[in-house]
């Protein structure tokens, strides 16, 4: 990332090779539209290239995954409210706490860990992350009390974290 900050195109290419599947995969899961997912992926990576200072440290994978998710959710929301796609230039970067890095992690392994969660915990987590729903909206959609939704999200995330404990590096 240091070399990307110095506008090294080869370093940027290596970054793209390492993280494009994550960014595209998240965008695709949120938007279910290959063209829109490509637009989000392109916007996210070009933003990293033009404004590398937006990433302020911690785990790059965690950061770019969140940026991709927020960008895709914003696009999904603007589509549903305006009936058209709209990608503004702002990037939501809310993370200011360093994230623990996930080492030796791959999509397949996490998919298995997520699949082992009870559906009542997995569902609100996926609705919140990929569906961009707030906990109140999840409560309304599932017909559950808000307190139950909160507990299920928390319990599910804790279980997932425990299941992946050996992949964590501090």
């Amino acid at each position: 990332m240091e070399r990307v900050r110095l506008r090294d195109a080869d370093a940027f290419e290596a970054l793209y090779d390492g993280y494009h599947r994550l960014v595209y995969g998240v965008a695709m899961r949120v938007l279910a539209d290959p063209g829109a997912a490509e637009d989000v992926t392109q916007a996210v990576f070009l933003k990293v290239w033009s404004s590398p200072a937006l990433f302020q440290g911690g785990s790059f994978g965690a950061w770019i995954a969140r940026v991709a998710r927020n960008r895709a959710v914003d696009l999904a929301r603007s589509r549903s409210s305006h009936g058209e796609s709209q990608l503004d230039e702002t990037l939501v970067v809310e993370e200011d706490l360093e994230d623990t890095a996930l080492a030796n992690i791959d999509g397949e392994r996490v998919r298995k860990a997520l699949a082992r969660l009870p559906v009542e915990q997995r569902e609100p987590i996926e609705l919140g992350f990929f569906g961009g729903a707030t906990q109140d909206q999840i409560a309304r959609q599932t017909g559950l009390p808000l307190g139950t939704v909160k507990t299920r999200i928390r319990t599910g995330l804790r279980r997932l974290r425990n299941a992946l404990e050996d992949a964590l590096t501090v």
Binding site: G61, A62, V73, V110, I125
Partner: protein, 232 residues
Amino acid sequence: MTGHEERFDSVAAYALGALPPAEAAAIKEHLQTCALCREEYAYLRPAVTAVAYSAEACTDAGSGAVAVSPLLKSRIMKRVRSEAASREAARRIWPAYALAAACVAIAIVTGLTDLSLNRQNDAQRQTIADLAAPDARRHFFAGGEVVTHGGRIYIAMRNLPALPAGRVFQAWTLARGATRVAPSSTFAPGSGGVAVVALPEAATNIAAVAVSVEPYGGSSQPTTKPIAVVRI
């Protein structure tokens, strides 16, 4: 339920990104001061990252899973490489016309003639370091560029026409959120129609820079159509 308990209860949803903006802002603020909630957040965040990784696409289109088109990479890299090449070209051009001119031009344009030689040299060194910095931001326009680095802001122009008698070039800055431009430095080109101007304003506050031809001494608002307008 106390304020803390209520917030602790929402930390998981915050980590997931499942709170409305106002509630998220409240939790974010709370995390700054509450070690317990911060610990909970730090514990849960990797799980959220793991959720993101569960959607990771694969490179093998034949596997039936979500695959990324290789055309996307060539599209992105084409833009990145072309921009990297023009930056490189700009860096190579700089010493040729601007850096050499900077030493002469700065004294002319910023009225440093009353300063000691040492302070002039310091200003020149700073300018040259800023202009040549690899991480300087360059905003090109026909005939020059605006360069920002370390909060400082420069206009560099080449091929400037000779000015009629009693006229100068004047820089204008538009502060963020402002609706009218504010007058900045006046200057005349050095030899070969080159000018490098260190503006006194802090780059962080400036949304745009313009240049127009004005009567000697400068104007309080532009009186001629700007020859350059650059958004930063």
